[in-house]
């Protein structure tokens, strides 16, 4: 629209002095400008938005980050004119175009159908398409009109899940149903737990005959009960806890770890809940089954870092949401000294805490930044020592720690789990 205003304004600015000074050169110079403006204004008056029908389809609407999705956008000219159309199917920021084209420029005859096909890779999140930008040029003039046609479309991209080996957890309380978690109670199970006097009704196959021969009274063997447990995964989403280097953050790794752990514990039959702490208190109530897994993954897909003042301290974490004496899995690099105190408080309250701690220094190693530069090497060494002390303090308060170098798979890191040195009980 404004395309005809500037030439006309300049033309007018030449004509008016030309008329006042009776200078024909000024008036003559303005003629091309005024003519240009008139032609465009006539075009504007006739220009009408093209009647396009758009339909977008996805090869799949739910996927895992890094997966490829094929997208088709069918453009049908339902009008009677044949406009020249420039169309851009704008990608949400989580998607990256890897093949094909998401834009079109050409003339569309009436009822002609043009299909754009392209392939994208998806990043974690809920990518949402909203509008398609359409620019059309009238057939015989130079005028352009722009419009945004609503065409929504939503994808769900979950974080990538890594299969894990068995992770030993020891919550103080278990549920009533059989499962994989050792309940610290005698009964039926696989691992020897202890002996006790025989009582009528006990299985005679469990009588310890050697003990009977020694003591003269019937004694039976007890095995450790295995039950399901409440496992609550807490993802630390505070910006101050995470390190960012060249666009890669420990937070992305933490999200993947939380997803893998949730999937692992759910597959074992446990009650799993999720708390994302940082942006807001995003809470998924503990539950079992595939539906719960989908809910947790959906929530993790949207997890983002935040530096809200209200959530800066781990101390403000709403522990009332967490079932008492359950297993907590805290996924966080934990850089703040005060956090040790909070973790100790959780242990004192009866929670069993497993800390999955992604290395921020591993990001430095992955890029080879510490090679050759002595300052970086020194900084790296200080960071490692500080971290060692930090993790030692955490183990000292009764926390099991998985020290995870993000350049190796989480599965490997889980094999080197450091169990708590002490167990603290609240009296």
């Amino acid at each position: 629209m404004g395309g005809s205003l500037l030439p006309f304004a300049i033309g007018l600015a030449l004509v008016v002095p030309g008329l006042l000074l009776l200078n024909s050169s000024l008036i003559a110079a303005a003629i091309p400008l005024v003519l240009f403006a008139i032609v465009r204004a006539l075009g504007d008056a006739q220009a009408a938005a093209p009647k396009l029908l758009l339909h977008r389809s996805f090869s799949r609407s739910r996927c895992v980050e890094g997966d490829e999705i094929d997208i088709e956008l069918a453009i049908t000219n339902s009008g009677m004119s044949a406009p020249l159309v420039s169309l851009v199917d704008r990608l949400p920021q989580e998607l990256t175009l890897i093949e094909g084209r998401n834009r079109y420029l050409g003339r569309l005859s009436p009822h002609e159908v043009e299909t754009l096909r392209y392939t994208v890779t998806a990043g974690r999140g809920h990518p949402q398409y909203d509008t398609v930008r359409i620019r059309s040029w009238s057939p015989w003039t130079l005028t352009m009109s722009e419009s945004h046609q609503p065409l929504s479309g939503k994808l769900v991209v979950h974080p990538r899940i890594e299969p894990l080996d068995t992770i030993a957890i020891r919550p103080r309380r278990t549920r009533a149903f059989a499962g994989p978690v050792k309940a610290n109670l005698g009964g039926q199970g696989l691992d020897f737990f202890g002996c006790r006097a025989y009582t009528p009704g006990d299985d005679i196959r469990r009588i310890n005959w050697r003990a009977y021969a020694r003591h003269g009274s019937l004694i039976i063997n007890e095995f450790e009960l295995e039950r399901i447990a409440d496992v609550n995964i807490i993802l630390d989403a505070r910006a101050k806890s995470h390190t960012q280097l060249d666009g890669e953050t420990t937070f992305d790794h933490s999200v993947r770890a939380a997803a893998s752990l949730a999937s692992h514990f759910l597959d074992q039959g446990n009650n799993v809940g999720l708390l994302i702490y940082g942006d807001y208190v995003h809470w998924v109530f503990p539950g079992i089954g595939n539906l719960k897994k989908e809910r947790i993954l959906d929530r993790l897909a949207n997890a983002k870092l935040s530096d809200k003042a209200a959530f800066q301290e781990l101390r403000s974490m709403p522990t009332r949401l967490l079932p008492p004496r359950s297993q907590l899995v805290l996924v966080s690099p934990l850089v703040d000294e005060d956090d040790i105190e909070v973790v100790a408080l959780l242990v004192d309250r009866g929670y069993s805490v497993l800390l999955v701690c992604p290395h921020s220094s591993a990001l430095i190693d992955a890029r080879g930044l510490s090679e050759g530069d002595r300052t970086v090497q020194l900084a790296r060494r200080i960071l490692d020592l500080k971290r060692e002390l930090f993790l030692g303090s955490l183990a000292g308060v009764g926390t099991s720690v998985i020290d995870w170098n993000v350049t190796v798979p989480l599965r490997t890191a889980c094999r080197g789990i450091h169990h708590a040195h002490v167990r603290r009980y609240r009296t």
Partner: protein, 181 residues
């Protein structure tokens, strides 16, 4: 599409520089050369997202043309320079709008668009040439008639702009591009 635009702007500047030297107005000739240098700016990557740059170039061209016209240099040269500049300005702005289109499509579109824009510019120059041949005498009466004609055209132009401008809803959508649920 940016190259044809720059070529046209350069042609406009070259005409002005040459006119300046031929008619012995060295200052304006140098100004024309400087304008030719400045007109190369759209070729740099920073210009891709600055539509105002073309507006500025057109304004400078117009200013220089006005200076020549005030000194009663041949109208056909002034009109040619400004016609080349306005077509270059238009093609450049369109190139910015099409920056995200595919290169093959863009090349095809660029040729036809530039030809059409040149045709309108050529028509303007032809009108000026015809005016010189016919030798319309500029008097108070003809000036008044011309003023009225321009006034009417201006009104029509503004009405057309008002009618086809973005609606209130479109403006709101542009200001707040929140995704639709």
């Amino acid at each position: 599409m940016m190259t044809p635009s720059v070529v046209l702007l350069e042609i406009g500047a070259a005409i002005l520089a040459a006119t300046g030297y031929v008619y012995g107005i060295t200052e304006l000739g140098i100004a024309g050369i400087l304008l030719a240098v400045v007109s190369l700016l759209p070729l740099f990557p920073f210009a891709a997202s600055r539509p105002r740059l073309f507006d500025l170039l057109l304004a400078i061209h117009s200013g220089l043309v006005a200076a020549f016209a005030l000194l009663h240099r041949p109208p056909i040269l002034c009109a040619s320079a400004l016609a080349a500049a306005v077509v270059g300005w238009d093609v450049g702005r369109t190139a910015q709008l099409l920056a995200d289109a595919g290169s093959v499509d863009r090349r095809r579109f660029a040729a036809s668009y530039t030809v059409r824009a040149l045709a309108i510019g050529g028509l303007g120059i032809a009108l000026v040439a015809m005016m010189q041949i016919v030798r319309v005498r500029l008097t108070f009466g003809s000036g008044l008639a011309l003023s009225l004609a321009i006034l009417v055209l201006g009104t029509l132009l503004l009405r057309a702009l008002h009618r086809n401008g973005p609606t209130k809803e479109q403006k709101e959508q542009e200001e707040d591009p929140s995704p639709q649920q």
